[in-house]
Amino acid sequence: MTEASDQPDLELLSVTKRFKGFTAVDEVSLKVRRGEFVAIMGPSGCGKTTLLRILAGLETMTTGQLRIRGRDVSDVPVNLRSTRLVWQNYALFPHLDVFENIAFGLTLKPHDKAVVSGRVKAMADLVGMRDFLDRRIGQLSGGQKQRVALARALVTEPEILLLDEPLSALDAHLRLRMQGELRRIQQALGVTFIYVTHNQIEAFSMADRVVVMNAGRIEQVDTPERIYTFPKTHFVARFVGANNLFEGRVSAVDERHTAVACGHGTVTVTNRGATPAVGETVTVVVQADRMRRAAAGGPGENTVPVTLKGREFAGSQNIYLFDGLDGTEIKLVAQESMGSAAVMAVNASMTVHFSPEDASIIGYAGPAAAPAADAPAQAPAAVSAPPVQAPPPVQAPTPEPAGAAP
């Protein structure tokens, strides 16, 4: 990551886009440092592509402001902006060859042919397309097209590069290779990348920070680690990873733990910073791979009685689907090979367990309150990404009678 200057490279102030009948982008505010790699992630229709097109100047905002390096560019038309977009389907010019495609942006004004040629070749070197400069676009593979599209945008020395699901048309293997390439090129040039995707693996493996969007709003802005481990909203908890959500009411709070009465009994959760008040309705989040299937829980662990509903073998992983006593769907991911998995009958009753350390509480009026209230407020905090919170020291929590439900 490059050094953070005090002036953000890109600044969105309450950017809103309304179409007839619905709001595609709703009061989005965000600051991005120079050289940062930010991924915008969300389900299709969440407004992430519209937001990217607003940044590129291909779409107008209804209200709001857009600043690049301190300049207000809200009114600057697309061809005068210092942003470049890389399309999902590459959008290469079919009638030009690779060299002409990369050179396109440099040949629009009076130019020195030798200079253009030199810059095109240097950029082709960087993306590994030096040997393909005289190829027709139709002769290229998907990965090669992607490199040309990247070179065509980067050769014009944009201040910000916008990428719209650039890897989604590639096969899995190539996608993994290109992820590494993208990250390498981004670090070599120090250009700010805004990367839109619906694929959380891409977002998590490349980005410095991830923006999770839903229904036109920002749900959470944070480092990949923190988004994965500590989702702040119901939406993020459901959208990211495989989480189990238990609805309940806070029954007791002490200095170490919070007890939440859920439909199947009380669960204890290790406190992190602020705690909800007794009596508040909250949701406890536990990742599916932190749940354990065993006859009895360890000391201090939460126990949930369940009935087995189904099981999927996924090679080295087994995914179990349970129903809780109150009908809550519970998912458990176990690292076990197909053969070692126990044979169990559907509708068999059993218990699953998880440690209070591995659970977190969302949905209360504390620091991680409803997204509507904190979306603009979280931007300043996000400018300098806080370090990943060190997990609390491992220790056996005091067993609480309520925690170990029968």
Binding site: R84, L85, W87, L92, G105, L108
Partner: protein, 270 residues
Amino acid sequence: MIAGDRNPWPALGRVFLALSYVFLFLPLVLLVVFSFQANRFPGLPLQGWTLAWYEKMIDQGTLLPALGHSMLVSPAAATVGTIIGFFAAYALNRFDFPGKTVLLGIIALPILIPPLILGVAFLGLLARVHLNGTLFSIFLTHVVLVTAPALSVIQLRLSQMPRQIEEAAWDLGATELQTLMRVVLPFAVPGILGGWLLAFTFSFDEFIIAWFVSGFDQTLPVAIYSILVASMEPTLNAIGAIVFAISALVLIGIEVLLLPLLFRKDTEEA
């Protein structure tokens, strides 16, 4: 389809198709054949091969100049109609505006209104401004007739252009005009050529408007008609063979050069 169930229909269909081809090509083939036959009236028995009708056509003095007129008017009308059609197709493909459907309907009208009515209407206007009876007046009216077919072919091509290609050009800093000339125009070239050929054919074969509007400078179909109402002349077979050759060239041009380009699935798109 079903085992043991013999289906007679494909065979019957092929026989029917063969008969249809006979019906469709009979007049064309006979016209060319009898342009080389000595028969004064086309019919059996054949009276031997000759080039007499071609010589007579060259001496006769109205058909060749008329062909010349047609070869002047039709390319000109096709060119202007294609240029107008290209810009209109671009705007219709790219922009939304109120009344777009109505405009599309109006643009198609000259092909739907019988040319007979158009001919009378054009004559009314042109006679008023004393432009009737010239090749120029035929050119003016034929442009109206050929713009819609040219436009529809170009629009077909432009509709294959991914919108992102234009956006990519703007995004890289190109002005709208630069984008139009350097990205859209090269992409549309197959459509433009196809549209031009279609426009040319429409104008080259057009009879009734030219009949109303032209005076002494007749186009080829009008000249042929004038001879035809007077008498049956095998010189018509000779000029007909030449005209069919021109049409066949246009048709081969479309099949060989344009259809593959026009209907190719663009591999450039993801």
